[in-house]
């Protein structure tokens, strides 16, 4: 690698091509540019010129300079210049790489890997072997490979398999194994590169300086550390404060202030809250309060430092920090009668902030329990007493309430009472007393209840009385106004025995009814920690463990269970990484912080050790820039050449098609990423033959009834009616069309002839919608009913009328335009005569006066029906052909009425018009 000051070239052989530049320059200068092509008719005259000067014009100097710059940029780009390239590695032997992959390395893992790859690349460039030694102990099921001298390719493969481990590093062992392997294999000293995580060894371990001394035997050490602001943070457990647990966050160096944000995550991964904390300058520990409302506090699953990706930045929360569990001992009696039973009030009071459990003693004590509440238990049996005593000594709080049975069965040496009690109870403020019921005095300063406000309306009517003795006073937490203790508590081992001298239900006092009850209970529950039950021992198999990046996952094979004695002070090790152990309903969290303790930065390194900061590659590669510049210059050169050849004239006289296309291609290639290529949207054409046929000429339509005979009559009738209309009037009708309102489009037809047969099909909603739209759009439906309607038919008709929302119908009036629209008719016969014809009652201006319904039962289609020879299909019995003619006239009237609207209705008002015209 060639170095010139800050600039160095990775492939200096390419610079030899620069020697060819003068030759290139001369060549370009000598070569004339491409000629302009011009069409010239008097070419023959030009050919007659005797002397033609052949000295061509030269390439202009700026084009020459452009091309030279292009070639220079390409050559320099190939030579791969680097600005501020890293210095070479010292020594000439193999490169020994000590790689920290403990829990703290998950922070900047990608940069570490990049640094490792760069070191391997540099070693490869210098042709040196590589020895890779990770410092964290291997996972229990993975055999730690012995350090070996690797080629660059094998080293890169080995690098691929490295992952950060969630346990701390063990550098002394790593250094020892490396030095021993080097001595054994007699590798020459070379260079030592230590990619560290920035943390010093914990107290009591071999200090870093000693490690570096040992490494010096292998070569000049260089330490790569992360920058100070990227040193890892460690979160330590919240202290068990009842009201405001505080988490501690540790950092490695105390420089300056730093703010840290903690995220409190719930059970399903949902974020519950964030808390911000601050490191003071010079402080390596920050306390961050974990303020969670009580409803959310029970859902807390872990606390993590925002932005950190190590296993040490996550604190897993198990039941010990969750809601305290309060057990209400069930004695089988009816304690939870609403408003009467003591358990009811206790449950109500405890529920918001504690987990309330019910059951018998063994069930309750099987799981970790904070508080055990005994309401009016008189004489517990000895097994129970022993179990409770053990549990209390381990940190449980026993809360007893007085009651009838306790008052009756008081034993002097009850081990589960904080004070000795006098047998019997005391009634305060009864019928025969002067004073009223007892009121509470202010709470004692010394007890856990101090500071609670005493509401004035709490009164105690009955209580059990403590035997006066010397230690009653110090065990009293609450008194009545006359000094009698109401709540007493005694510390027993790790736990407490608390006695409330009155009942938990409102029998003896109204304390359970007051808000003070809730506060008192809360304080008492806050005393407790979730103590282990007696049957909590045994081994805890791993449930979920953290990996090096702080992600919870399945435990890798080889993870051991936590056993018995290791439960309380378990340490994180390769066999037991941090995570959850135990059963799914009784999880125990193993966290990293107790294992690591406080953090310390590497600090000053001894002299002779090179340092570098991780992640800052001062090296800058200029190759991409140079090649980009070369491409841009190339495009400019192309454009200029085309312009000089005259391709870019505004109106090219005779630009060959090729050149035009070339220019166009160039322009298109330049802007093609910007052109959105959308497929041409073909218009959706409704290729419906029938629609085209229906729309192009006026047609009458008849509704298919499903009975082929009726359909045939309808078709024939409308066809002959159409022929008659064509012959006699100016209307031009095409052949009639049979439609099905379920499927066909009805809007093309002016009227719809609907022969209602005996069998009426129910209409689907589509058909109903189509028919309603048809009528609303101005179409007319002509209903032709059968002669006789029985009940079912009538019901069917009613149904149709309801479904189609037919308007009220009236018989056709005498002066209605239907009788006058073409012919003057007095009755409207079909094959039958006499039945009334019904139309809609309309104003003149609604739908142009055309009724949307015409209904009758004169069987018009049969009267109109003719076959191909123009012979009528059905005889008309009473009236004969005259009636048929009248039926045709009615048909013509109907068609004209439907097609023309109220055009003829003026006839009705003729007299009015004449009156108005005449002054």
């Amino acid at each position: 690698m060639l170095s010139v000051g800050a600039l160095s070239f990775a492939a200096p052989w390419a610079l030899a091509a620069l020697a060819a530049l003068p030759a290139l320059w001369w060549l370009m200068r000598v070569t004339p540019p491409s000629p302009r092509r011009v069409v010239f008719p008097p070419l023959r005259l030009l050919a007659m010129l005797s002397s033609r000067e052949e000295s061509a014009v030269r390439t202009p100097w700026w084009l020459l300079a452009l091309r030279m710059a292009l070639v220079t940029a390409v050559i320099l780009g190939i030579a791969r210049p680097l600005v501020n390239a890293d210095t070479t590695l010292a020594g000439s032997g193999p490169v020994y790489i000590l790689f920290d992959n403990g829990w703290a390395s998950g922070e900047d893992w990608s940069q570490r890997m990049a640094a490792l790859s760069q070191t391997i690349d540099r070693a490869d460039r210098e042709g040196r072997g590589i020895v890779l030694q990770p410092t964290a102990p291997a996972a229990p099921d993975v055999k730690a490979p012995r350090p070996a001298l690797l080629t660059a390719a094998r080293a890169r493969e080995a690098v691929q398999t490295l992952v950060p481990s969630p346990w701390p590093t063990s550098r002394p062992q790593a250094v020892t194994s490396l030095v021993e392997a080097a001595n054994e294999a007699r590798w020459p000293p070379g260079a030592v590169v230590w990619i560290s995580d920035g943390l010093a060894e914990p107290h009591g371990a071999e200090p870093v300086a000693a490690l570096l001394d040992r490494l010096r035997a292998l070569g000049q050490p260089t330490v790569l550390q992360p920058p100070p602001q990227r040193l890892p943070l460690l979160i330590a457990p919240p202290e068990r404060d009842a009201d405001a647990p505080k988490a501690s966050v540790f950092r490695a160096d105390g420089e300056g202030e730093k703010s840290v944000v903690l995220r409190l995550i719930g059970e399903n991964g949902e974020p519950l809250a964030t808390q911000a904390g601050r490191f003071a300058a010079g402080d390596r520990r920050a306390q961050v309060p974990l303020d969670l409302p009580t409803e959310l506090a029970g859902r807390l699953a872990r606390v993590e430092i925002e932005g950190a990706r190590t296993a040490g930045a996550i604190w897993l929360v198990d039941e010990r920090w969750q809601r305290r569990a309060v057990g209400l001992l069930d004695e089988g009696s009816n304690r939870d009668q609403p408003l009467l039973g003591g358990h009811f009030y206790l449950q109500r009071a405890l529920q918001p902030y504690a987990e309330v459990r019910r059951g018998d003693l063994t069930t309750l004590l099987a799981r970790p329990l904070s508080v055990l509440v005994l309401t009016d238990v008189g004489n517990p049996d000895s097994a129970m007493v022993d179990a409770i005593q053990r549990w209390v000594e381990q940190g449980g709080v026993l809360l007893r309430f007085a009651g009838e049975r306790l008052a009756r069965d008081i034993r002097v040496d009850d081990p589960l009472l904080p004070v000795a009690l006098r047998p019997g109870d005391r009634t305060i403020g009864g019928a025969l007393s002067w004073a009223g019921a007892g009121k509470l005095a202010a709470f004692e300063d010394a007890g856990p209840l101090h500071g609670l406000a005493v509401p004035p309306d709490v009164e105690i009517r009955r209580q059990v009385v403590a035997e006066p003795s010397l230690d009653v006073a110090e065990r009293t937490w609450a008194r009545l106004e006359d000094g009698t203790p109401l709540i007493t508590g005694e510390r027993r081992g790790e736990g407490w025995l608390v006695l409330v001298h009155t009942t938990a239900d409102p029998e003896w006092s109204n304390l359970p009814l007051s808000g003070l009850f809730v506060d008192i209970l809360r304080r008492i529950v806050g005393l407790a920690a979730n103590a282990e039950g007696s049957s909590g021992a045994g081994s805890l198999p791993p449930l979920e463990v953290l990996d090096g990046f702080g992600r919870l996952g399945a435990p890798p094979p080889g993870t051991r269970a936590l056993i018995g004695a290791g439960l309380l002070d378990a340490r994180v090790s390769p066999g037991s990484p941090p995570g959850f152990y135990g059963r799914a309903d009784a999880r125990r969290a193993l966290n990293l912080a107790p294992t690591v303790g406080e953090l310390a930065a590497l600090g000053h390194l001894p002299a002779g050790v090179g340092t570098a900061t991780l992640g800052e590659t001062a090296e800058r590669d200029l190759q991409p820039w140079l090649l980009t510049i070369a491409v841009a210059l190339g495009l400019a050169d192309l454009a200029l050449s085309l312009a000089m050849r005259g391709m870019f004239r505004l109106r090219p006289r005779r630009a060959p098609a090729r050149a035009c296309k070339a220019a166009l291609m160039l322009a298109l290639a330049a802007v093609s990423p910007l052109l959105p290529l959308t497929a041409a949207q073909a218009q959706t054409v409704v290729a419906d033959e029938s629609a085209a046929a229906a729309a192009l000429s006026t047609r009458l339509a008849w509704v298919r009834s499903g009975d082929p005979r009726v359909d045939q009559i309808s078709a024939a009738g409308l066809r002959s009616l159409g022929a008659v209309v064509n012959r006699r009037t100016a209307a031009e009708l095409d052949s009639p069309v049979g439609v099905d309102p379920e499927t066909d489009e009805l809007t093309f037809y002016p009227f719809l002839y609907w022969p209602l047969t005996d069998r009426l099909r129910p209409l689907s909603p589509t058909a109903v919608r189509k028919l309603s739209d048809f009528m609303r759009g101005g179409g007319t439906i002509v209903f032709d009913l059968p002669a006789r309607l029985d009940g079912a038919d009538r019901a069917g008709l009613k149904e149709i009328a309801r479904v189609l929302d037919l308007p009220p119908l009236i018989p056709v009036p005498e002066d209605h335009v239907l009788r006058r629209s073409y012919y003057l008719l007095s009755d409207l016969p079909g094959r039958r005569v006499g039945a009334p014809v019904w139309i809609e009652r309309l104003g003149e201006h609604v739908n142009d006066g055309v009724s949307s319904v015409v209904a009758g039962s004169n069987d018009w289609a049969a009267a109109w029906a003719m076959d191909e020879d123009q012979r009528p299909l059905f005889p008309i019995v009473p009236g004969g052909e005259r009636q048929r003619e009248m039926a045709f006239r009615f048909g013509v009237n109907l068609v004209m009425y439907v097609l023309t609207g109220n055009y003829k209705s003026d006839q009705v008002h003729l007299s009015t018009i004449l009156e108005r015209l005449a002054p």
Binding site: P32, P33, S34, P35, R36, R37, V38, V39, F40, P41, P42, L43, R44, L45, L46, A47, M48, L49, S50, S51, R52, E53, E54, S55, A56, V57, R651, R653, R654
Partner: protein
């Protein structure tokens, strides 16, 4: 101006269609009152298109008295003149026949070219001049025909329109030859050849001589583009011929400019000498000059040709 001979567009011929061009040509001819006055005057002297042919023949003008030959019909004896002397004379009239003008323009690919886009192509200018001339001639009562169309000279508005349509059809067809095919023409006809005359001089000489031998009096009008005359190119230029006749590469075009101009002037001079040699006239017209002057000059030349 492609090799297929498609006509290029120019400012004064924005529309297609022969009749459109005809109307434009007529508009050109009609907007010059002096020209029209001149046309009228010339037409008047020419007396309705009937020109005396200075020989004995059918006509109205007296030509000569001739002694009576026994082969003459006796009705032709002019008794008044015979009474004045003792010989018998026959009156003879001058042969007056309508004069025909044959027009031709060069439709080859080299005509369909223009030097700059602001000027019309030579073909457009040639068409314009031809049609305007034909309009003037027809107004003056002459008989015009397009050479090579196979039609007899005719007069009147119909003839003009036919001429225009023929021109258009010729323009639509493939490029024609650079010189008209020789065809026998009646004596004393007149002829106008409009083109750029860039063909070899020998070919032009042959064609002109062939027509002159028929007795036709002609006029050559050379249309040239100012770029052809001046060679305004510089730098490295590859010249291509318009009719697929090769390419020439010049390293520095500006150095040959003077030499080229002199060659071009020689060519023009040779054309003039050629025309004068057979008794014809020749005129050159640049497309950047106005067509009106050359039209007037052409018309007057034709009438002079007719008169003398």
């Amino acid at each position: 101006m492609s090799r297929a001979g498609r006509s290029a567009k120019s400012p004064d011929d924005a529309g297609a269609g022969p009749l459109r061009r005809l109307s434009r040509a007529e508009a050109l001819a009609a907007t010059f009152p002096p020209l029209m006055v001149e046309a009228e005057r010339v037409a008047a002297t020419v007396s309705q298109g009937v020109h005396g042919r200075r020989r004995v023949g059918e006509g109205e003008t007296f030509w000569q008295f001739r002694r009576y030959q026994p082969s003459d019909p006796s009705q032709r004896i002019d008794w008044r003149q015979s009474a004045k002397s003792d010989r018998v004379y026959v009156r003879e009239t001058e042969w007056e026949a309508a004069q025909s003008v044959w027009l031709w323009r060069d439709a080859s690919a080299s005509m369909n070219w223009r030097g700059t886009s602001s000027l019309p192509s030579k073909l457009q200018r040639a068409d314009l001049l031809l049609l305007a001339l034909a309009a003037l001639l027809v107004r003056g009562g002459e008989y015009v025909a397009l050479l090579g169309s196979g039609q007899l000279p005719a007069s009147g508005r119909a003839a003009l329109q036919r001429l225009a349509i023929q021109l258009h059809r010729d323009g639509e067809a493939a490029a024609g030859p650079g010189l008209p095919a020789a065809q026998p023409l009646p004596r004393d006809g007149r002829m106008v050849m409009i083109g750029d005359f860039l063909s070899p001089l020998e070919d032009i000489r042959t064609t002109v001589a062939a027509f002159a031998r028929c007795g036709v009096r002609g006029h050559l009008l050379q249309i040239l583009d100012p770029a052809e005359e001046n060679l305004p190119f510089s730098g490295r230029v590859l010249f291509e011929g318009a009719e697929n006749d090769g390419e020439l590469l010049f390293g520095r075009a500006e150095t040959v400019r003077d030499a080229y101009r002199s060659v071009y002037a020689e060519h023009q001079q040779a054309l003039r000498d050629l025309a004068r040699g057979v008794g014809w006239t020749m005129r050159a017209h640049r497309t950047d000059h106005a067509p009106q002057t050359v039209l007037l000059a052409l018309y007057l030349t034709l009438s002079r040709l007719a008169a003398g």
